[in-house]
């Protein structure tokens, strides 16, 4: 389309003595299109963007941005690019207008052009009504737009956006995408870094990073091609679908599989026949269009098997059909702000229930009320029949809690964390030692036993956090954003354990802002601005918004349509 805006040649960068953050990266980024910088947390996305701004220098190799070398001509690069770091780089105690003025001065936008540029950007970002509001008082989506406006003040030739989609609701995310797309038609080059693989699919071309290595560069369709004809949906499943998934995953020729609503999505090995998927009479196997994530998993060598040793070692909990978790009109107000309003649902034994919504919607508040960490302003919650207000201790003993970001004691070793959490959950003596030995074997912790938890790779942290939460065999397991930022293989391994535990009768409450992950749940509640705007199985919710123009909507389509519907109702 045009000449290369960014040329990356043999670039490596390491921090400290660990594995390099970037290892021998070579790629090119073009103008006039959106280039996705795709990968899980810790893949090296932020480091690569900072290298492009000239704020970091490579250990070896060279970067040329808009024809300037980042080592020698950083100032000229910085005069020609727009950069929005994570958290948007806004001054929260300055108003929208003052932030714009500041960046206009710093970027040298001539006084004569300002009125017109401000006007254009404010209408573009729909912030005109809020110019006097402090940036700190804006919603996540509005902050993100203001951050973008500040980066666009002096029409950059190259726009670098570091995870602009994190922490914002899907509606704002779509609006931002559209804005950025419009910019590319003017020839601006855009680099959009993301951990969401559905965002990657929409980019013109991508750089797929994993653990500092470049796995793929090119148009995303080129990557998904590699799994063409190997992706299937197994539908019409009789009985429980999770044991079927586990059995399918262990068959030769099956590369990857996940729950997708009522169906199972399978990727087969190259050359394998779809006959391996054959099941009983009712089930149908239909080809499905491949997704970026399928190809990513294929590139990484396939997902883990379907067996969960953790679940196998867990005792089956009987008396089904009881409600293990109950929420009745849960409401939490902080001052005049209502964080959660009248949230009601029941979760049966052995069910996975998801709270889906963007950051700040009220998921974590609801969640914390149900595990007794926050006192509700009104309403009540029960776990295993125990009222969380009156019998807090009993209720807590029956639940396991895995906090956001895998809150472990970073300075304690892996073994010490296990010992500590086993003690906290009331395990003693031989029983405690047996349990610790069991999870150590299952998760292969022996190799890391003496390492500080904070130095573990993200995937291992997640495993350790899960182990700490399940050693006491809780009836209910609370998972707060359990797979945020981890790579797809680690995420599958995690869900294999969860699926296995559910079959043993463990009840799961999970919060997530990943629309795709919501499909692993039996039922979900969509939380938006403190309210539950819809509740049902993933297929039901998607069915509600299906239309002739969009017969097979994604979870994100459903979310957006349902939010807009509830807003119309309110208006």
């Amino acid at each position: 389309m045009s000449e290369d805006f960014v040329r990356i040649e043999g670039v490596s960068k390491a921090f400290g003595s660990g594995a390099p953050a970037l290892d021998q990266i070579s790629a090119a980024i073009k103008g006039g299109e959106i280039t996705g910088l795709v990968g899980p947390d810790g893949a090296g996305k932020t480091t690569l963007i900072r290298l492009m701004t000239g704020l970091l220098l490579p250990d070896s190799g060279t970067l040329t941005v808009l024809g300037f070398d980042t080592r020698r001509e950083a100032a000229r690069i910085q005069a020609a690019i727009g950069y929005m770091p994570q958290r948007f780089g806004l001054y929260e105690d300055l108003s929208v207008q003052e932030n714009l003025d500041l960046y206009a001065d710093l970027r040298g936008l001539p006084q004569a052009e300002r009125a017109a540029v401000f006007d254009e950007l404010l209408s573009f970002t729909d912030l005109k009504r809020f110019t006097q509001r402090l940036a700190g008082k804006l919603s996540g989506g509005m902050k993100q737009k203001l951050g973008l406006a500040c980066a666009l003040l002096k029409k950059p030739r190259l726009l670098l956006l570091d995870e602009p989609g994190v922490g914002v609701d899907p509606i704002s995310r779509r609006e931002l995408w559209k804005m950025v797309k419009d910019l590319t038609s003017e020839g601006i080059g855009v680099v959009w870094s993301t951990a969401y693989l559905d965002e990657a699919e929409a980019c013109t071309s991508v750089l797929l990073l994993n653990q500092g290595k470049l796995l793929f560069t090119g148009p995303p369709a080129e990557l998904t091609q590699r799994v063409d004809g190997r992706v299937f949906k197994v539908t019409g499943i009789e009985g429980r679908r999770r044991p079927l998934l586990a059995s399918l995953l262990d068959r030769p020729g099956v590369l990857d599989g996940v729950i997708q609503g009522e169906a199972i999505r399978i990727v087969t090995d190259a050359g394998a026949s779809q006959d391996v998927l054959r099941e009983g009479e009712g089930t149908k196997v239909i080809p499905a269009p491949p997704r970026f994530e399928d190809a990513f998993v294929d590139l990484l060598g396939g997902g883990p098997g379907g067996r969960s040793k953790l679940a196998e070692a867990t005792q089956t909990q009987t008396d089904a059909d009881t409600h293990v978790i109950e929420a009745r009109g849960l409401t939490k107000r902080f001052g005049d702000f209502t964080a959660a309003q009248d949230i009601t649902f029941d979760i049966k034994r052995g069910e996975i229930f998801g709270l889906l919504g963007p950051n700040g919607a009220g998921k974590s508040t609801t969640f914390k009320m149900l595990c007794g960490l926050l006192k509700p302003t009104a309403g009540e919650g029960r776990v295993a029949g125990f009222d969380l207000r009156r019998d807090t201790a009993e209720a807590r003993n029956r639940l396991g809690y895995m906090a956001q970001k895998f809150s472990l004691y970073g300075d304690l070793s892996v073994a010490q964390n296990l010992d500590f959490f086993a003690g906290v959950y009331g395990l003693k003596g031989q029983h405690k030692r047996d349990k610790i030995k069991l999870v150590t074997d299952i998760f292969d912790f022996a190799r890391y036993a003496n390492q500080s938890a904070k130095d573990l790779p993200l995937g291992h942290k997640q495993r350790l956090a899960l182990a700490c939460a399940v050693m006491h065999e809780p009836e209910a397991l609370f998972l707060d954003e359990p797979t945020s930022g981890v790579d797809p293989i680690t995420r599958r391994e995690f869900w294999t354990h969860i699926n296995g535990l559910v079959e043993k009768g463990v009840t799961i409450l999970v919060t997530t802002h990943f629309m795709d992950e919501a499909e692993y749940c039996d039922r979900i509640s969509l939380i938006f601005r403190g309210k539950s705007i819809a509740l049902g199985s993933p297929d039901e919710l998607k069915g509600r918004v299906a239309s002739p123009t969009n017969p097979d909507p994604t979870m994100e389509d459903a979310f957006i349509a349902l939010v807009e519907g509830s807003e119309k109702e309110a208006a």
Partner: protein, 372 residues
């Protein structure tokens, strides 16, 4: 307007808005200084006026009663009389009295016999400051009394008559040197602590990264921090001086020129230290701890503010030589109590400017436009 000047103006304006809107800046720059000033103006006193003293008169004679009466008449002591030192031992232990004077049975007979009458002074050595005050003032009272007796009885001629004159602070009011000293503490708080905090905050919130990716230069970033906090510290200092002079009645014998010259010279190393700390830590908690340890505490303890540098161990004296506040506090005390003693002031200003160049140079070196 040239690009550089325009960017600097924008940074200064931004910082000013932030200072005005952030309650913690106002707290550190105006409320905390006033609290400190009131504390040192009213609360803390290093003077030995009205120290509680126990006087044990073992034998009541007109002579011993007369001596005891002169203790009671002293305005430095609040005297409790007793017959035995054991009456006061418990009180000394718990601190109800700061010292015990024992006038022994033998005192009257020794006095008339001219054979070195003795009295005993018992003080609490755990508080050396008060102990030495008590000791000195007791000696003073006794000496005065002896002289009076001598002149009344026309007995032996008095020995050398020592007459004390305290210049500049004739009432020896500690407030008069504590209040100017506390202004130095205030400027350390703003110059180093507040500056370190606000720069570290920019790192934490990611705004520093966004700034650096614009055409702004490292020098402009530094100047954009130095200027507003320089002005803030000068304003706060002015407020403190007004309170000191008009509320506490501390004399001001020097000139405003000298006052502003020494304050400005001090702010260079103070600001430089703050910027250096924040550039090295990039974290508000660490920055505040480091600023307290490396600037605030030395300004308190190693500057001659509370403790005489001359009486410190030699090594500590050397260390105190690199504490910028050490040069500010005597300068401030001079300007307030003595006047413009330019040789002393210029020497201190020169040292502070030199320290300023060193700190700002280091801060400048560590604030390159790089993230790591």
């Amino acid at each position: 307007m040239s690009g550089s000047l325009r960017r600097l103006t924008a940074l200064v304006r931004k910082e000013t808005y932030q200072i005005l809107r952030d309650p913690s800046s106002i707290l550190i720059a105006f409320v905390l200084p006033l609290i400190l000033l009131f504390l040192f103006g009213y609360g803390v006193s290093l003077d030995a006026t009205r120290t509680r003293l126990g006087v044990a008169v073992e034998e009541m004679t007109p002579l011993t009663q007369d001596l005891a009466a002169s203790f009671q008449a002293s305005r430095y002591f609040e005297v409790k009389l007793g017959r035995d030192r054991r009456d006061f031992e418990g009180a000394l232990v718990v601190g109800e009295v700061r010292g015990i004077v024992v006038i022994p049975q033998t005192f009257a007979s020794d006095f008339t016999a001219h054979t070195h009458p003795q009295i005993q002074v018992i003080v609490d050595g755990t508080d050396p400051n008060t102990a030495s005050f008590v000791q000195n003032y007791v000696q003073g009272v006794v000496a005065t009394w002896m002289k009076q007796r001598a002149s009344e009885t026309q007995a032996e001629p008095p020995g050398i008559n020592v007459e004390q004159r305290f210049w500049f602070n004739p009432e020896l009011t500690s407030r008069n040197f504590l209040v100017p000293g506390s202004i130095a503490i205030v400027m350390t708080l703003i110059g180093t602590l507040l500056t370190a905090l606000v720069v570290a905050r920019e790192w934490e919130r990611g705004t520093m990264e966004a700034m650096m990716a614009t055409p702004v230069t490292a020098a402009e970033l530094l100047a954009g921090k130095i200027l507003p906090y320089f002005i803030l510290a000068m304003t706060s200092m002015t407020l403190c001086v007004l309170v000191a002079v008009f509320l506490f009645g501390v004399p001001f014998r020097g000139s405003l020129l000298a006052l502003y010259a020494i304050s400005a010279a001090f702010l260079l190393p103070a600001l430089g230290q703050g910027l250096l700390i924040s550039a090295a830590t990039r974290n508000q908690f660490l920055a505040s701890q480091l600023a307290l340890l490396s600037a605030f505490l030395p300004a308190f303890l190693l500057s001659g503010f509370l403790f005489e540098i001359g009486s410190m161990p030699t090594i500590i004296q050397w260390i105190s030589a690199i504490v910028p506040a050490r040069y500010l506090i005597p300068s401030l005390q001079t300007v307030f109590l003595a006047g413009d003693i330019w040789p002393l002031l210029l020497r201190n200003i020169a040292i502070m400017l030199l320290a300023g160049v060193v700190f700002l140079g280091l801060a400048g070196r560590s604030t390159r436009k790089r993230l790591a």
